[in-house]
């Protein structure tokens, strides 16, 4: 099995991408990403798919470690998640 080499990332970059995601959810819905998982790096969507496994495999093929990336689900507008 070949060992995958991933680029390391800092927490600050992750926090920036998280902030970008929460501020741009409406924009992402307009881009037809509702109901999909999105992977974000440096305030850009680098992958999206409704199936998380597929998205993670795609991200890994790009030599990115999904553990360091913001990967979030774009809930449909009006969805309320009660905890």
């Amino acid at each position: 099995m070949t060992e995958q080499i991933f680029q390391p990332r800092e927490m600050e970059a992750f926090e920036e991408d998280s902030r970008w995601f929460y501020k741009n959810v409406a924009f992402l819905r307009k881009k037809n990403l509702t109901g999909k998982f999105v992977a974000i790096k440096n305030k850009e969507i680098i992958a999206s798919d409704s199936n998380l496994d597929v998205l993670i495999k795609f991200v890994e093929r790009k030599k990115e470690n999904p553990s360091y990336l913001v990967i979030e689900f774009v809930y449909p507008e009006g969805t309320v998640v009660l905890l």
Binding site: M11, V25, I56, S67, Y68, V80, V81
Partner: protein, 142 residues
């Protein structure tokens, strides 16, 4: 010392959201995650999307300890087991607690990662949340 937390609109409402790193030595797990601070939850629970993104394998899952626990959260019913010594780091504050990891979703949509009261207790943290001014923070006693 105050640790600021962002207040963001997420899944239907304003939530105190925190970015943190999770590290465990055995099983070896590391990743960055976003979590909702939820004082209604006694336990800290990993979201299943975060379990997947941190690539926690079936072998690692077998190293989780304790009996399977049935948890109802956010309309989801799931079974969890404990990651015994998870190190959660927010800014410079490190808190070691057992974290519940979903091993099976029985019903419903799996919720996101939740930081529960156990985190506040172990870290001796106070939690302040003012949605009207969109201000939230954790306060350490030191």
């Amino acid at each position: 010392m105050r640790i600021p937390i962002s207040v963001d609109f997420f899944a239907g409402g304003l939530r105190p959201m925190v970015a943190l790193s999770l590290r465990s030595k055995e099983p070896h797990i590391f990743g960055f995650i976003n979590a909702i601070v939820d004082t209604g939850s006694p336990s800290t629970i990993l979201g299943s999307a975060d379990v997947q993104k941190m690539r926690i394998s079936q072998i690692q899952m077998q190293k989780l300890i304790g009996a399977e626990k049935e948890v109802n959260l956010g309309g989801a019913q799931m079974k969890t087991r404990s990651l015994p010594e998870a190190e959660l780091k927010i800014k410079d504050k490190i808190v070691k607690i057992p974290v519940q990891v979903p091993i099976k979703i029985i019903n419903g949509v799996p919720p996101p990662t939740i930081i529960g009261v156990d985190f506040l207790l172990a870290g001796k943290l106070k939690f302040f949340f003012d949605p009207s001014s969109r201000e939230a923070y954790l306060e350490t006693s030191d």
